[in-house]
């Protein structure tokens, strides 16, 4: 870390005027430039990845927790690694932090190979799931710990600790001990401590898992704000798909030590590449079928009795057994049979309905006996379509809402 600029240098903890971190997320209302040039370095073939993970494996007693994983992450990204428990996501994070040594493969951060580097020599810092705030230190000493180990001067440490505590809004608690803090406050301390050394990469292990619902949402936005302000690359490990979708620029879905799909939240939600991903991300209706030999846009489906209109990707090899996935909110309910080119129409009866205020969820049993979930926004106070139990109804969706899954 250079001290060249001294006090005259731009304080990195304060929002800078320059378009240093242009994000694709539309929360940068004070920065119109961000919307004009979206932050999508992964689509730029010339962009140099900031973190390169190559064929990384970690085996514990013959069990491959991480199994030959490769991934490029770009500077300023908020990357989420998502998966169920035991999928290897935490091991991957620990490999990046240096707490585990890989069985094979390598990690390169900002051009430097991390092989053989212990955690205390890596440009990464971690926010632990348990927060791991040192119980015998005050809040200020916790934040200062990494700076003391770096050998910074007393006044500089003091300045930086003050800045960081302001950043996480904990300046009034500097002299408290961790046991006097709530879980949310401890988490802020952990975050400030992890940011103190200005790491190139911040690793966050289930950052919101231990917080209650309200605090979670608030913290989520704060994390995004802080990440945006500091421009540090964040890698978040989580098991919560909602958390991953709202936080991340890109998501890697992990299962059994491998990545199943890597993409932006929209890509993963709208174009899942497998049943596993489709199922993991929210509710989805799956129909089993096979492609019509004459017309690849028609999926013959025994379960529904009617063919489903779809748009298989060009060149997508269609095996005998495939699945069509449709999100509940893509399906329209109507009393009259809708007509139109490429619209799949089914008929059924409302078996169950649940009112959630902003939207309602219906479970419709088709005439062939298949249960389909439909959700619709309650845009008006009295829904024009006040459905009742056991009411006969038409389901329909256009062909571009059908996702064809081959695995």
């Amino acid at each position: 870390m250079t001290e060249a600029g001294g006090k005259a240098s731009i304080n990195p903890w304060v929002p800078s005027a320059g378009p240093r971190t242009a994000h694709h997320r539309s929360r940068s209302d004070n920065r119109p430039a961000a919307r004009l040039s979206p932050f999508v370095p992964w689509e730029d073939p010339t962009a140099e990845p900031f973190i390169r993970i190559e064929n990384l494996s970690k085996t514990f007693d013959g069990f491959a927790a991480v199994d030959g994983v490769s991934l490029d992450i770009f500077q300023g990204e908020l990357f989420a690694i998502l998966g169920g428990s035991g999928c290897g996501k935490s091991t991957l994070l620990r490999l990046l932090a240096g707490f585990e040594t890989p069985t094979a493969g390598e990690v390169v951060i900002d051009g430097a190979n991390m092989a053989g580097r212990p955690p205390y020599e890596r440009p990464t810092n971690m926010m632990f799931q348990s927060y791991a705030v040192f119980p015998h230190y005050t809040v200020a000493d916790n934040v200062a710990y990494g700076l003391r180990k770096e050998g910074l001067g007393k006044t500089e440490i003091k300045e930086r600790v003050t800045e960081l505590l302001e950043l996480v809004q904990m300046q009034d608690f500097a002299r408290r001990k961790p046991r006097q803090l709530s879980g949310g406050q401890q988490q802020r301390v952990a975050l400030a401590r992890a940011l103190a050394k200005r790491p190139k990469v911040l690793l966050l292990d289930e950052p919101l898992a231990a917080l209650d619902r309200n605090l979670r949402e608030r913290t989520q936005f704060e994390l995004m704000n802080i990440q945006d302000r500091l421009g540090i690359t964040f890698i978040v490990v989580t098991h919560d798909q909602e958390e991953a979708m709202t936080l991340a620029t890109r998501i890697a879905v992990m299962d059994a030590g491998r990545f199943v799909q890597i993409g932006t939240p929209t890509e993963i939600y709208e174009y899942p590449n497998s049943r596993f991903v489709a199922d993991f991300f929210g509710a989805i209706n799956l129909f089993e079928g096979r492609a019509d030999a004459g017309d690849p846009g028609r999926i013959i489906c025994a379960e529904t009795g009617v063919p489903i209109h779809a748009e298989p990707t060009a060149g997508q090899a269609l095996p005998d057994l495939l699945f069509v996935a449709v999100r509940p909110e893509k399906i329209r309910l109507s009393r009259e049979a809708p007509a139109g080119e490429g619209v799949t129409v089914m008929h059924g009866t409302v078996e169950d309905l649940a009112y959630y205020g902003n939207h309602s969820v219906y479970r419709v049993r088709t005439d062939q006996g298949k249960l389909v979930q439909v959700s619709s926004q309650n845009a008006h106070r009295s829904a024009e379509l006040a459905l009742e139990w056991d009411e006969p109804i038409h389901l329909s969706w256009p062909r571009d809402c059908s996702v064809v899954l081959t695995q």
Partner: protein, 273 residues
């Protein structure tokens, strides 16, 4: 709350009886230490003469000094070694012979004292024959013997604390640029200090209390306090033993109070300024 027909009065008298069984003998003994009579069981009047006699009794004062010295040294060394052993078991991964090591470490807890004492005596005798050390038996051999068995107690106490400690704390320190040795001093030692203090107190008490092992490995010149009391009682109880017991009870009481205060302060250190 009434349950199963047991009344609060019944429960309270049970409690009183239990406490009486435990503490009345000690109270009676303390009371009789102020007895003027030479006979232990006949009360003739209040006097402090046995405390004076105790102060004059060089044999007892010397033995008490020796016992305290041995207890202090052995407790300190046992705490150091026991803590190292606990660290090795909980923090050094699955090294070869770990199970054997932890088993052997705990063995003195269940070993009959007579066997420990006898085997140590044989070890010291044969060592003296082979390398000339320890020459004769005395305070040193008692100290070594006490370290060997009280170390196990310290290790168990410290190991429990280390196992309960969040490993992420140590990882966080390393993540923030601390080397493994620094982690030990910055994080581990401050957090296991209360356990080390309890271990030290336990070792100190065990050493002060020990009669059997000390009898085996002591020499003619070095009699610990329990040995002196035991031999005096065999010749018939004199009231100055009562006075000695009262003094020990007082010292132990103060010691426990101080230790409790210290530990409360350490616990608070994790909470308050």
């Amino acid at each position: 709350m009434r349950r199963g027909g047991r009344s609060p009065t019944f429960l309270f008298s049970c409690l009183c009886f239990g406490f009486a069984f435990l503490y009345v003998p000690i109270l009676v003994m303390i009371a009789y230490s102020f007895n003027d009579s030479r006979l232990v069981s006949v009360w003739t009047g209040f006097s402090l003469r046995w405390y004076g006699a105790l102060w004059e009794n060089e044999q007892i004062i010397d033995a008490a000094g020796l016992s305290l010295r041995i207890a202090f040294v052995s407790a300190t060394l046992a705490t150091a070694l026991g803590t190292l052993a606990a660290l090795a078991i909980t923090r050094m991964g699955r090294f070869r012979g770990r199970t054997l090591f932890s088993g052997m470490l705990a063995a003195p807890l269940v070993m009959p004292e007579v066997i420990t004492g006898l085997s140590l005596l044989m070890l010291f005798v044969s060592l003296e024959g082979m390398v000339g050390w320890p020459s004769g038996r005395g305070a040193d051999t008692i100290t070594i013997a006490h370290i060997t068995f009280s170390m196990a107690y310290v290790a168990v106490v410290v190991q429990a604390r280390l196992t309960a400690m969040d490993r992420a704390l140590e990882e966080a320190a390393m993540d923030l640029g601390c080397r493994p040795m620094g982690v030990t001093f910055d994080i581990i030692l401050p957090l296991i200090a209360p356990a080390m203090l309890s271990g030290w107190l336990l070792a100190f008490t065990l050493s002060l209390d020990d009669l059997v092992i000390a009898s085996f490995v002591s020499g003619p010149e070095s009699s610990t306090l329990p040995m002196v009391i035991y031999s005096k009682v065999r010749l018939g109880i004199t009231p100055d033993v009562n006075a000695l017991a009262a003094v020990i009870v007082a010292i132990v009481g103060i010691g426990v109070a101080v230790a409790g205060w210290l530990m409360a302060r350490m616990a608070r250190a994790g909470r308050l300024d």
